[in-house]
Amino acid sequence: MSEHYTLHVNGVERAVQDAWVGENLLYVLRERLGLMAAKGACEQGECGSCSVLVGGNLVCSCLVLAASAVGEPIVTVEGLAPPGAPSDVQQAFVDCGAVQCGFCTPGLIIAAHDLLDRTPEPTEMQIREELSGNVCRCTGYGRIIEAVQQVAVARRTADAGAAS
């Protein structure tokens, strides 16, 4: 049973042709639209590697049927910043040593952006709780927390500078 539908991804209308309706959003983003940043690691919403924003909500794209995301704005890591011009969160992850193998990283980047947009000055416990849906097997999380905290401080400093 093949379907044609359109997804709104990173501000662009993307046609999906001849897709099996059972395909999840992760598969469609990767295999049909060539957006490879979101990763599949558990296929059941436990690890967060496939995190994207759908309609402004942080979701595991492996748990969302692609066809059900029609009409919602979808944001993937590719939509956060142009290649070679990383966002503040992305740069902080590199600077702080929050990246080792990097497989969990795109999901964490999306989740950290979402956290900092909603909670600009998170406590350490808020960071831990909000990002606990993203499993990292390499880093032990210490440098990731450091990176998120660094961005929060930098944004606050920038805001203070802009206000004065």
Partner: protein
């Protein structure tokens, strides 16, 4: 949260916290992992696996799969053109089972099709008729010789004893117990995936693969394909973590077979459930230890018996067992030893390499024993350990003399001196997330006890028992730019960060280009055994020095000075007199130097029948302290802090070392309190991240650390490998802390198995012996 200053950088030479060259690509999602490789017209491959732990195959009928539209190929053992089996040490594992299946998940057939869903239906259509056989699941039955052979090679993968000193010696104080260690999964996030591209005409194949050791993979693949190694080219695809699970063959041969048969590119990806079946795991083990000590707490003898369940195939079981038994003593002097070790074949999942490689299991036993000794001698846990520390020049229970720097006492003392958490149980803010059970909101702060535990470990570095695990590197210098080529698998550990640091240091350049990591250069050995900083670092260093020598000869000839008088100063070449000073960029303009070097560590030897011999290459040391909060009635644990001081030789990149230490401790924490593959009747029951629990950001506490820097004279860069030690003694330190908390609650905890489960803490019933 570390006590370590990761510093500011001027040039990214050795000692600086240079950043990952692949970092930006990884945070932007453009870094290509093995599962990101594909493209139009690339077929999907998938594997049919045994549902039985032990069965005879009566009949395989693949014809129904061929009738499904979109199926392009179906292959079985009949389609293997070369050697029918593979394996790292013994080639005892079939590419496809044809007569007998020996574990749940053993491959029987593979298909290639146009869509993963087509693959799934094709696999479901294949008919396999089995005669189910009684599985061998009890390792002790194999040791006792009462289990029927389940493989032509027999069921004993290795039996090795160690007899050292006087076996009749006894101590004033004797403590003993039997310890169980559960089966841990490496649980890398990047699932097994590969892309095989056949050469036109089928005369060879190029495999893009996430692996730890390209050349060893190539050898095994070529043998099974019936090809010469040169016909099989391997390219390292982006590796999403490894931790030992990518040392063995998984989908490599299957993917190549499908691609060669079809003359088309084929990609194969495992699911998470399949990954649990498709790679080897950390061995579950039962270890009995009896320590004899003087009344003052000096160890005089250790007796031990190890039984490691290797599962269905040999993998690296024999080497894992060697590591375990030769680390019976831990980082302590021990003049007399009687040790008996078995690694046996069963119908459980095959086991092999995981970070720590046998030493994790031994360490949980010896560190639990040290705490028992401390209690019996009335000493505190740090003092009993300091009293027994090994020193350089001491003889180990294998008769081998410790030749490395051995700052164990410093590791222990510095760990003990690191700051404790400044928050009381439950924290100052009363946030329930700080309590055991967290969001479950079950623990009450009044019933939570805080405990402190210590542990220390010794870990061998590099390969052992006569194996020459050399590494190769090629260095080219032209116009002030260095290009490095090596086959060292970058699995996340950061060798791609370190190698350019070495080149900048040796050659005085800033621009270092890394060539593709593939089999187009000599072997680098495996990214395992904490060995690449030492081995591939040694090879890169040697190749860069060789290029520097040629550069100096060139400069000397051109400027009329002695080559021996030249040295690198920053980014310049200077001579002793100070008369000559020119930049490396200028000096190398218009010329090219290209040198390839191998680095070999000193040879090691096999153990004799009494377990005596210089079998190991080198050692590193570490100590851990854990602080935990425990609810003894609910059986819940919250790890509050881990402190560690690690013997690193020399810190080459502080940020990278912090990452290894924190990440390794997270895996040690996992084994301590949550991670275990559960098999019942030979069937895995928790092959998912829903049921196999991994530490999250809420489970992992802050780590405080100190690097013990005593440069290792035998290491080419003075640095020891740092990857494994964090994983080893963090586990027993956490369990010791849980025991300490329970004692304060008035309990008599045994906790002689990991992971520690709620029922082990509550003690509601006797632990079942399996």
């Amino acid at each position: 949260m570390s006590a370590v200053d990761t510093g500011t950088r001027t040039r990214d030479v050795l000692g600086a916290s240079a950043l990952r060259p692949d970092g930006i690509a990884k945070v932007q999602g453009t870094f290509q992992f093995s599962s990101d490789l594909g493209g139009d017209g690339v077929l999907w491959g998938a594997t049919l696996r045994s549902p039985h732990p032990h069965a005879r195959i009566i009949r395989i009928d693949v014809s129904p799969a061929w009738k499904i539209a979109g199926v392009e190929s179906v292959i079985t053992a009949d389609d293997v053109p070369g050697q029918m089996t593979y394996g790292l040490i013994d080639q005892d594992q079939p590419v496809f089972a044809s007569d007998v299946v020996r574990f749940v998940g053993e491959p029987i057939a593979a298909v290639a099709a146009d869509h993963p869903e087509t693959c799934r239906r094709a696999l479901a259509a294949i008919v396999v008729e089995y005669e189910v056989l009684e599985p061998v699941l009890d390792p002790e039955a194999v040791v006792a010789g009462t289990a029927p052979a389940i493989h032509p090679n027999g069921n004993v993968l290795r039996h090795q004893r160690i007899l050292h000193g006087d076996p009749s010696v006894t101590g004033d104080i004797v403590v003993e117990a039997t310890y169980d260690i559960g089966m841990q999964d490496q649980a890398f996030l990047g699932l097994e995936a590969a892309l095989a591209i056949p050469d036109p005409g089928g005369g060879g194949v190029e495999l893009h693969i996430a692996t730890q050791w390209l050349h060893e993979d190539r050898k095994q693949i070529a043998d099974c394909l019936g090809m010469a190694p040169e016909q099989v080219r391997l390219v390292l695809a982006g590796v999403g973590g490894a931790f030992g699970a990518r040392e063995d063959i998984s989908l490599q041969v299957h993917t190549c077979l499908l691609a060669l048969r079809l003359g088309r590119p084929v990609r194969m990806h495992y699911s998470r459930a399949e990954s649990f079946l498709g790679h080897v795991h950390r061995h579950p083990a039962t270890i009995w230890m009896r320590h004899h000590a003087t009344a003052a707490g000096e160890i005089v003898k250790v007796e031990a018996r190890f039984v490691f369940d290797g599962g269905a195939y040999a993998s690296t079981s024999s080497a894992v067992l060697l590591n375990a038994i030769t680390h019976t003593q831990g980082p302590y002097r021990c003049p007399n030893a009687v040790v008996d070790g078995w690694a046996v074949r069963t119908n459980h999942l095959p086991c092999g390499a995981m970070r720590g490689f046998g030493v994790v299991q031994a360490c949980f036993a010896h560190e639990s024993q040290l705490d028992k000794l401390a209690e019996a001698c009335g000493l505190d846990p740090v003092e009993i350990r300091v009293r027994n520390v090994m020193h350089t020049g001491d003889r180990m229970i294998t008769g081998q003399v410790m030749q490395n720097v051995a700052p164990i006492e410093r590791c222990l003392r510095e760990t003990a001196a690191l700051p404790f958490p400044d928050e009381p149980v439950g924290g100052h803010d009363g946030d329930v997330m700080r309590l055991p059970g967290g969001a479950g909101r079950t623990a009450d702060v009044g019933h939570v006890y805080r405990g402190i535990g210590y542990a220390a470990a010794m870990k061998n570095l590099m390969y052992s028992e006569g194996f020459d695990d050399y590494s190769t590197a090629r260095c080219r210098l032209a116009d002030g730019v260095v290009t490095l080529k090596f086959a060292t698998a970058e699995v996340g550990q950061g060798f791609v960060t370190l190698a350019p640091q070495i080149a900048r240091d040796v050659l005085g350049v800033d621009e270092v280009v890394l060539d593709r990591i593939d089999t187009g250069v000599g072997s680098a050995g495996s990214s395992s055994a904490s060995r690449q900083t030492w081995m591939s670092g040694g090879a890169v260093n040697a190749a860069c020095i060789a290029v520097r020598d040629r550069l100096f000869e060139h400069v000397a000839a051109r400027h009329g000075v002695e080559a021996a008088s030249l040295r690198i100063d920053g980014i310049e070449i200077v001579d002793e007199s100070g008369a000559l000073r020119l930049s490396v960029a200028d000096a190398s303009a218009g010329v090219e130097f290209d040198e390839t070097r191998e680095y070999h560590h000193p040879p090691t030897e096999d153990l004799d029948e009494n377990g005596q011999g210089n079998c190991h290459t080198a050692f590193a040391f570490v100590a851990h302290r854990a602080v935990v909060d425990v609810d003894p009635d609910l059986g819940l644990v919250k790890v509050v802090q881990v402190a560690t001081a690690q013997d690193v030789g020399r810190v080459l990149n502080p940020l990278s070392v912090v990452g290894q230490v924190e990440g390794g401790i997270a895996q040690g924490l996992g084994l301590a309190v949550m991670e275990e593959i559960v098999q019942i009747d030979g069937r895995i029951r928790n092959a998912s991240f829903t049921d196999y629990l991994l530490p999250t950001m809420l489970d992992m506490p802050p780590v405080v650390m100190s690097f013990v820097e005593e440069p290792e004279p035998l290491a080419p860069l003075g640095a020891k490998g740092v990857g494994e030690p964090p994983t080893i003694s963090s586990t027993p330190a956490i369990v010791a802390a849980i025991r300490d908390a329970l004692r304060q609650a008035g309990r008599e905890p045994r906790l002689d198995r990991v992971p520690v489960r709620p029922i082990d803490i509550i003690g509601v019933h006797e632990r079942p012996r399996t």
